[in-house]
Structure formats: structure tokens, C-alpha cells
């Protein structure tokens, strides 16, 4: 920069506007429409002022706009803090700042804010695509800074872009050292705004007809699982989530039911695996039916739900072990069993009537369950687009519409069972998953969301019954895409007929998984385990810092040596190279050439002091003088000079 107070010219403004617009653009997807219009107008205004060399608007006008915009943002969000309101305000203020940017110093500050704006984009998405786009934005801002710091004339575009790219590329090694070794601490350092994690999808703590159906339309990843041993069969992949105990006639809910420490008396085949859970802003974690351990920072409740201590706001990775086909809860409290029998007396009268009739028909619970499932199997349709249900949804589903999705079947089954006197609860979670052979792991998507039931049988405890399995066994065996009619809408990612598209999708998910595991999910725990693998056990932050400084020092020193090596003046003239080699041979014989000594004088002195060398020195000097100062420039003479120097032995 010539002088920080120097006024901006159009070439500076052009770059500044372009790079800031690039960075701010993704925010347009979640800003109110009028703020987008305002920012576009501000940018266009600054571009016009810069291009036509007009005067910038007065500070009072800008303050007025800032005030009105702040009020507008407050009215839109009911706050000016929080993620969305804060980012919207930041983008507007950046646009206003553009209009009072006169000097190079202001422009530098704006570029810094541009970098800051890059980071705010990561609050919304940290996918690979976002990362690549933001990398391009970072290059653009850096190129803008090169432009600002270039002297008076317009720098060649090539120079500007190359300097930015090379500078950033050469910073990657040091960045990697910092990334891997900078002592990580778990956030947050201060309170997060309430809307920091809104917009994540996942299971809810209530279940009404249609709630899971809406989830199934999303192909977002819920979690990924890597099994240590062989993967269980598809029909055993029941990922247990929130349990629903209470029913109000229409909606099932999962009131917090964590009363005592778990009595893990369950047993069965143990399977070990690692889950990487996408953030969903709720406390529950997912495990195969039935969790055998509680990972750190989590608890298992009496009904074997796995809870995190805090809402899962970041991608969470945990090691898990489960018993397959477990037997558990044979001894259950009266309180729990009563709760699992309760139904509002006036709701769904026909379903309750059916339950009571079944109880009279069968002596044992298994008979009741078998008849109910048989009913489903014979007359019911499994579909993603069930007809809407009215005041008594279970009655209407059972006796008139007879088509529904897993939550309809689970809900109806539970109501009838409870009416028949069998304690029943609803389990929501996920079922199945897609195997990615590329990385040998299982992808469980929101589309795999599922609801089933557990009934309590005397002497056996809680037993899993999946009514959906009775209607559509393929749902459990093969997955959702095979189970629902072809006309039902399903996300593209779930129903893909083309093998090649499927392969592309799995490859992409594999890359996303690696990205998640190593870039986004590089937590304090992962850092510790990585260093342990590298032979540095229980690394304290002091050790880490020391290592960080040493390695960073080495990297910087290497870069410095490489960068400054280019400064060495290199002799390119082969004639001179040959002659310098000749001089070097003489120097080692104690006959160094004086810097002020010409080649002929030098040769004369050498011949005087060492007459025996004269026959060799004389032709070399003659050739050199002829090649360097004479008109002669034949290749043969050069070869002759080089040959003689090579054979010269002082």
C-alpha cells in the first residue's frame, strides 16, 4: 500500500465489491428478502459511486439507514442477537461500511471483515461444497488485499491471483501443523444464541400420524456406524431412540422418564461399533437394541434409552456396544407397567372395544398379539401417503382407511394392546441403513426413521414387536424404497434405480464421512487418540503447545530457507561457469584471483608463480577471453574450454 490514507480508486473498489459479494451471497438463503434488496442496493450504489467518481453519501444518511435496518431486523427476528439476526445485521453493516470506505486503510479493514464473514457461513454449513466455495472466496479476498497493497498502477490480474494462490498454498503445511496440534478445547466458551442449531432435522419427542412420514422425505444423514466385528443382519438393525409412554388419544409423547440408574441386567449377543451422530439439538443418542454400555458424557435410563448429558449440537462420535436379541426388564415396577396401560377412556372407542374383545377371545398374550398382527397382514396397506385422519385417528385407521405408515401401525397396535391389558410402549428410532462398501460403514438416514413397539410379557420382560413388519416385511429386510408403492414420493437419494448413480452417491458419502471424521469432527478426544497412536500418550496441553511450537518452527524455517534460496544470484552463462570452476581449482592451490584482477593479469601472475602450469593456463585464458569479450561465440570453442577446465589439474 502506498499510504494507508490514500484514497481508493475504481480498481480497488471493483475487487473489494466482487470478493465481498461472493462471500455474502450464501447468506441470501436465510436473510429476509428486504435485507437482500438493501444489501444489493448498497453494493450497487458503491459500485456506481466508485465507477463514476462521485462523492460518497453523508455519514448521517448512512446512520439513518443503519438505524432503520436495525429496527427492521429486530422486527423480523424479535432480537438483534442470535445467529440469524446477528449475521443479517453483519451483512447489512458491511454494505453500509462499503459506502463510507474512502481510503486504503478502510478497504483493508473491510477485507478483514470479509474473512470474518467466511467463518459466519460455516455456522450454517460445513459441507465439502461449502468448504470449496469458501476457499475460492478466501482466495478472492486475499487477491483483493494484494491489489490494495500494489503500487499506483493496476497490477496484472495474473500476478494478483497467482500471488494470492501461491501464498495460501504455501501456508498449507503450517496450517496442518496448527490444525493437528493446536490444543483443542470443547466449546462453547460463552453462551450460544438460542437459534444456533435450528434447522437440523431429526426425531421429535412426540409422535402423531404423519410425523415420521415427513422425516422419511429427507435424505439427510442421521448417523454413520462402523462395526468392529461383522455387521448384524438387516432385521436386527433397530436403532433405538426416544420411547413414547403417554398417549392423549392422538399424540404419543416422551416425557422425561429418567428416574434411576439403569439396571443393566440384559444379556444377549454382544456387538461393538462406533457411531458418528449428526447434531440434532436433542439429548438422545442412538444405539442398537439394546444398549449395553453408556459412553462418556451419557447415561442410560431405566427404559434403556441412551441420553447425552447435553443436547447433541456437534457431530458426536462414541464407541458403543449392544446386546442383540436381549432379554430385559422381566422385573418391572408397577408404576411403569401401569403407565404402559393407560389410554384416555373416551378416545378411539372402537379400538378399545377391539382390544377388550381380543382379551376375551384369547387366554394368553401371545395369542392376542398374533391375531392383531395377522389382521394387519391381511387387510392393510403400507404407504407414505395415507389419507388424513380425524378425531379418533386409531379408529379411523383401523376400520376405514386401513393404509398408513409405521407410526400408524405402531400407534394402533399399542392402543389395542393396552386396551387388551398388555403393557405396551412405542419406540421411535431408525431401522436398517445403507452399507457403504467403500468405507465399510453403514449410513443411516432420516429416511430410515421408524416406529415400533415393545410389549411387556410376564416372565419374558419387554419384547420388541414391529407391526410394520407384519404389513410390509420388505421394509425391514430390504429398506424403505422397496416397501412403499412406486408412486409414493421418496428422496432421490433413497430410491435410486441407476447403479452408477448409486455408486456416485456412495462415493460422495464416503468423502463426506472422511471429511466429517477428520476435518469437522477433529475433537479434543480425536486429537488425543491421534497423538496416542503417534506414541505421545496422555498429551497435556503444555506438551501439545511445546510440540506445536517446535514443529511450527521447523516448518517456518524450512519455508524461509526455500523462499530465500531463490534470491541467490545464479550464474547462467556456461562460459563464466567454466571459468569460475577453473578459478576455483587454482584457489584451492593457494592462488586465488583478486576481485579486481582481469583474467589476463591473473594468468600472467599464475604463470609467474607456477611456471609449470603455464601450458594449461594459457589456452584456457585465451579461450575464455575470446568467448567472453571477443566476437567469437562458437559452440566448439565453448566445448573446448569446458574440456580443458575439466582436465585442468593444478
Amino acid at each position: 500500500m502506498t499510504d494507508p490514507k490514500q484514497l481508493l480508486s475504481w480498481r480497488h473498489v471493483r475487487w473489494l465489491l466482487l470478493s465481498l459479494a461472493l462471500v455474502a451471497a450464501p447468506h441470501a438463503t436465510h436473510m429476509p428478502w428486504w435485507t437482500i434488496g438493501l444489501v444489493v442496493m448498497l453494493i450497487a450504489w458503491r459500485a456506481y459511486v466508485g465507477y463514476a467518481r462521485l462523492v460518497l453519501p453523508s455519514r448521517w444518511l448512512l446512520l439513518l439507514i443503519a438505524f432503520i435496518a436495525t429496527v427492521g431486523v429486530f422486527l423480523a427476528y424479535r432480537t438483534i442477537f442470535g445467529r440469524d439476526a446477528g449475521v443479517t445485521l453483519l451483512v447489512i453493516m458491511l454494505g453500509l461500511k462499503l459506502l463510507e470506505t474512502r481510503t486504503l486503510r478502510d478497504a483493508m479493514l473491510l477485507s478483514f471483515l470479509g474473512y470474518f464473514l467466511v467463518i459466519t457461513n460455516f455456522l450454517y454449513s460445513q459441507a465439502i461444497g461449502t468448504g470449496l466455495y469458501m476457499l475460492a472466496c478466501t482466495v478472492a479476498i486475499t487477491a483483493t488485499m494484494v491489489n490494495l497493497n500494489y503500487a499506483d498502477a493496476e497490477p496484472p490480474f495474473r500476478v494478483q491471483l497467482r500471488t494470492a494462490c501461491v501464498l495460501l498454498a504455501q501456508s498449507v503445511p503450517l496450517m496442518l501443523v496448527l490444525f493437528l496440534l493446536f490444543p483443542r478445547v470443547s466449546g462453547p466458551l460463552w453462551g450460544l444464541p438460542r437459534d444456533a442449531f435450528s434447522g437440523v432435522s431429526g426425531l421429535s419427542d412426540t409422535m402423531t400420524p404423519g410425523s415420521i412420514t415427513s422425516l422419511v422425505l429427507s435424505d439427510a444423514v442421521a448417523f454413520r456406524v462402523r462395526f468392529e466385528s461383522e455387521m448384524p443382519r438387516a432385521k436386527d438393525l433397530y436403532w433405538r431412540g426416544p420411547l413414547m409412554w403417554d398417549f392423549d388419544g392422538r399424540t404419543w409423547s416422551a416425557q422425561s422418564f429418567v428416574y434411576t440408574a439403569p439396571r443393566i441386567a440384559a444379556q444377549g449377543d454382544l456387538v461393538k461399533y462406533e457411531v458418528t451422530l449428526e447434531p440434532h439439538n436433542r439429548r438422545w443418542m442412538f444405539a442398537l437394541d439394546l444398549p449395553a454400555v453408556a459412553p462418556p458424557q451419557s447415561i442410560v435410563s431405566t427404559d434403556y434409552q441412551l441420553y447425552s448429558i447435553r443436547p447433541v449440537n456437534n457431530r458426536l462420535r462414541y464407541d458403543m456396544a449392544s446386546f442383540l436379541n436381549a432379554r430385559f426388564g422381566a422385573v418391572e415396577s408397577r408404576f411403569a407397567l401401569n403407565r404402559a396401560l393407560r389410554i384416555p377412556s373416551r378416545s378411539n372407542p372402537r379400538a378399545q372395544e377391539l382390544g377388550r374383545a381380543l382379551r376375551q377371545k384369547h387366554a394368553d398374550d401371545e395369542g392376542i398379539i398374533g391375531e392383531m398382527l395377522g389382521m394387519f397382514r391381511r387387510n392393510f396397506v403400507y404407504t407414505l401417503e395415507p389419507p388424513p385422519l380425524g378425531e379418533h385417528p386409531v379408529d379411523e385407521f383401523l376400520f376405514s382407511t386401513r393404509s398408513g405408515f409405521c407410526e400408524h401401525y405402531a400407534s394402533a397396535f399399542a392402543v389395542v394392546m393396552r386396551a387388551a391389558g398388555i403393557p405396551t410402549r412405542i419406540v421411535t428410532g431408525y431401522q436398517g441403513g445403507e452399507v457403504n462398501a467403500l468405507g465399510h460403514y453403514l449410513i443411516v438416514r432420516q429416511a430410515d426413521a421408524h416406529a415400533w413397539t415393545e410389549v411387556w410379557l410376564d416372565g419374558r420382560g419387554w419384547v420388541r414387536v414391529d407391526p410394520t413388519f407384519a404389513v410390509a416385511p420388505v421394509r425391514v429386510d430390504t429398506g424403505i424404497s422397496a416397501a412403499v408403492p412406486r408412486t409414493d414420493p421418496l428422496p432421490l437419494m433413497v430410491r435410486t434405480p441407476l447403479a452408477i448413480l448409486r455408486q456416485v452417491r456412495l462415493t460422495w458419502d464416503y468423502m463426506a464421512n472422511v471429511w466429517n471424521q477428520w476435518v469437522l469432527g477433529y475433537t479434543p478426544e480425536r486429537q488425543r487418540s491421534l497423538l496416542a497412536n503417534a506414541g505421545l500418550d496422555n498429551a497435556t496441553w503444555e506438551k501439545l503447545t511445546a510440540m506445536l511450537f517446535i514443529l511450527a518452527g521447523i516448518v517456518v524455517a524450512m519455508f524461509t530457507v526455500l523462499a530465500l534460496r531463490q534470491l541467490k544470484t545464479r550464474v547462467r552463462d556456461p562460459v563464466k561457469v567454466a571459468y569460475l570452476k577453473f578459478c576455483d581449482k587454482l584457489r584451492r592451490q593457494g592462488l586465488p584471483r583478486d576481485p579486481a584482477e582481469g583474467p589476463v593479469d591473473y594468468a600472467r601472475r599464475v604463470e609467474r608463480q607456477r611456471p609449470e602450469l603455464a601450458p594449461a593456463v594459457e589456452p584456457i585464458t585465451r579461450l575464455y577471453v575470446a568467448l567472453r569479450y571477443g566476437a567469437e561465440s562458437s559452440a566448439a570453442a565453448l566445448v573446448e574450454l569446458q574440456r580443458r577446465v575439466r582436465h585442468f589439474a593444478a
Partner: protein
């Protein structure tokens, strides 16, 4: 006291060593570097970004923060490298009149394989000129220095600096080459008329300022012949002017210090003589210059003009223009 201590400290710190002649190579010990205010602000912003990344557990936030942190460390080496190992030689400097700005040219040679961009040259840290020096080539940069008085002007330490590429660092080197510029006395705006030219020996009685050929105009002085007043000019309300004519004959015009009124100060006399030299040259006259210690013989043309102005510039100064570099100041480095 403070200033003296500061000066001694800086002399030691920056290895100031007085004017040098020949080539100055900006070796690594001659280039200094400090972060700029912008650089410090950026460090602050990086800290905020780091805190944000920790708070929101933004994996990519860490990547960006560390990438920019690494880039700002590397930028230091870039900025340093942009200046290091340049070879500086002094160039020619055109004489100026007192009160004007002298432009000292430096030739900057870049023998390395790296292009150097936005190299600034300044004398007073306020105004700078910028050049790019491509790999294996050279270019000239000029520093403007105000020349207040006649005599020899030495610019002293010039500063070569750069902030390229990001402006986070300011790298600079002091270049104290043995440069000098002759500063002519400022020509008097108006003054006494030129002395009459005497007929040269053996050339008859014709006057240097004859009446045959019109040579120019000068403001009217009392006593000028009314026949030579430019009445057409006066009619345009531009004041009285006297038309001057040159005789074809050889004349001898002596611009003589001793002829000037005794109440005039030395600088005033030099100033007036400078005016006369310029006027005489403009009129194409042959003239000589007599100063108390110097006499320049009759001649005409640009060389005579420059010789005379130089003599006026150096009058009663203790140095001549081309004197040898002072002892101890000719440390040539390579």
C-alpha cells in the same frame, strides 16, 4: 539529549554508516521488517475468529483461521524477500534551482529469479514513488528532495520500502549513497538591467545590444528609450515592456560581481547574476562571468550557461562538485 541518544541507538541498530559509493546490495542484515498497524489489527481479528471457532466447534473455522494465520507468517518472509538482495546504484541527478525539488535517481537491479513488486522509494516518508523490478532486470526509481538553498544538495539516507503482498509488514532498508545534486541560485524575478556590452577588442563600435535584430522583451526600466517601448503590448494593458535588440557584431558582455551595487548582499547578487546568465543565454549572447575568486571566460551556449550557473551555485562553498568522497565513506559492499 533524548534526540542524541535516540540517534546513537538508531545508528547502532540500523548500522548507519554514512554515505557509501558504488553498489549497495540489500543483504539480509540491511533489510528491517516490522508489522504494520493493519497487521496488528488482523492478528486481533484472527484471535476473534479462533475464539468463534472454538465456541461453535467449527472445524472449517479452525481450518480458515489457521490457514490465514500461517499465511500471515509467510507474508513476513514474502515482504522481506521482496526487498532483499536488490542491488542499488546511484544515478545521475539534474541540477535544479533553489526552491525546486531535486530528483535523485536510484538504479535498482534484481538479479534473482523472483519478481519484486511495489518497491517504494522515499526521502521524507511522506511522498514515495513505486516501481516493480522484474526478475533478472533493473529499473530506476526517483526520490524527490526539496532543495532550499544553492550549493550542493546531498539527500542523506533514502528509504527503500515495501508492504507487498498483504500490507501486514513494512520492510525497509536505508540507502545512503554518495549522491549529490547541484542547486543553482534561484534567479531573481526582475532586477537591474544587464550591464551594457562592451565592444570586443577589434570589432568596431557596434554594441552588443544593437538595434538590428529583435531578440525579446523585458520589463520597462526608467531610462529606456521611448522608441524601444513595446506600445502594442502596453495598449493591451500588459504593462510597459522594452523591446531588446541584438547587434550582429561581436560584443563582450561581462556579468561582473563587482559591478553590482555595493549595498546588495552576496545571495542577492548571485541570484541576479543567475538571472542575467539565463537572459544572456536566452538572447544568444556571448558572455563571461566574473566572481571574486573565479573568472569564466567569454563563451556562449548551453555549456557556458551550465558552467556559469554551477560557479554561482558553488560560490564561497567549501566544496567543489566533483570532489572525492570523504575518507571512510567509500565502503563498497557486494
Amino acid at each position: 539529549m533524548y534526540a542524541a541518544l535516540r540517534n546513537r541507538f538508531f545508528t547502532w541498530l540500523f548500522r548507519w554508516r554514512g554515505p557509501e559509493s558504488g553498489v549497495i546490495v540489500l543483504g539480509q542484515r540491511r533489510v528491517f521488517i516490522l508489522p504494520t498497524r493493519q497487521g496488528l489489527v488482523f492478528a486481533l481479528i484472527l484471535l476473534v475468529m479462533l475464539a468463534g471457532s472454538i465456541n461453535y466447534s467449527l472445524g472449517l473455522g479452525f481450518v480458515l483461521t489457521f490457514l490465514l494465520g500461517a499465511a500471515s507468517v509467510n507474508a513476513m518472509i514474502y515482504t522481506f524477500r521482496n526487498l532483499a538482495n536488490l542491488r542499488i546504484t546511484g544515478g545521475r541527478t539534474r541540477p535544479v534551482f533553489a526552491g525546486d525539488t531535486a530528483f535523485f535517481a536510484l538504479h535498482i537491479e534484481n538479479r534473482s529469479d523472483t519478481d519484486r513488486y511495489a518497491i517504494g522509494l522515499t526521502h521524507d516518508r511522506r511522498q514515495a514513488s513505486f516501481v516493480d523490478v522484474m526478475a533478472r532486470s533493473g529499473t530506476s526509481a526517483t526520490a524527490g528532495v526539496h532543495a532550499p538553498r544553492r550549493g550542493i544538495l546531498r539527500p542523506g539516507r533514502l528509504i527503500l520500502f515495501t508492504r507487498f503482498p498483504l500490507g501486514f509488514y513494512y520492510a525497509w532498508a536505508y540507502v545512503d549513497l554518495d549522491l549529490q545534486c547541484i542547486v543553482y541560485p534561484r534567479p531573481a524575478a526582475t532586477g537591474l538591467p544587464m550591464p551594457p556590452a562592451a565592444p570586443s577588442a577589434g570589432a568596431g563600435a557596434e554594441r552588443g545590444q544593437g538595434q538590428e535584430d529583435f531578440s525579446g522583451m523585458r520589463p520597462y526600466h526608467r531610462g529606456d528609450s521611448p522608441r524601444h517601448v513595446a506600445w502594442k503590448v502596453a495598449a493591451r494593458d500588459q504593462g510597459l515592456h522594452t523591446k531588446q535588440f541584438t547587434g550582429r557584431a561581436e560584443t563582450e558582455l561581462w556579468l561582473d560581481w563587482a559591478l553590482l551595487p555595493s549595498q546588495m548582499g552576496a545571495e542577492e547578487r548571485l541570484s541576479l547574476l543567475a538571472r542575467w546568465v539565463l537572459d544572456a543565454h536566452a538572447a544568444g549572447l556571448t558572455y563571461g562571468l566574473r566572481l571574486p575568486n573565479t573568472t569564466l571566460e567569454m563563451a556562449a551556449g548551453e555549456a557556458q550557461r551550465d558552467r556559469c550557473l554551477e560557479a554561482l551555485a558553488l560560490h564561497n562553498t567549501d566544496r567543489r562538485f566533483d570532489d572525492a568522497p570523504r575518507p571512510g565513506s567509500s565502503r563498497q559492499r557486494s
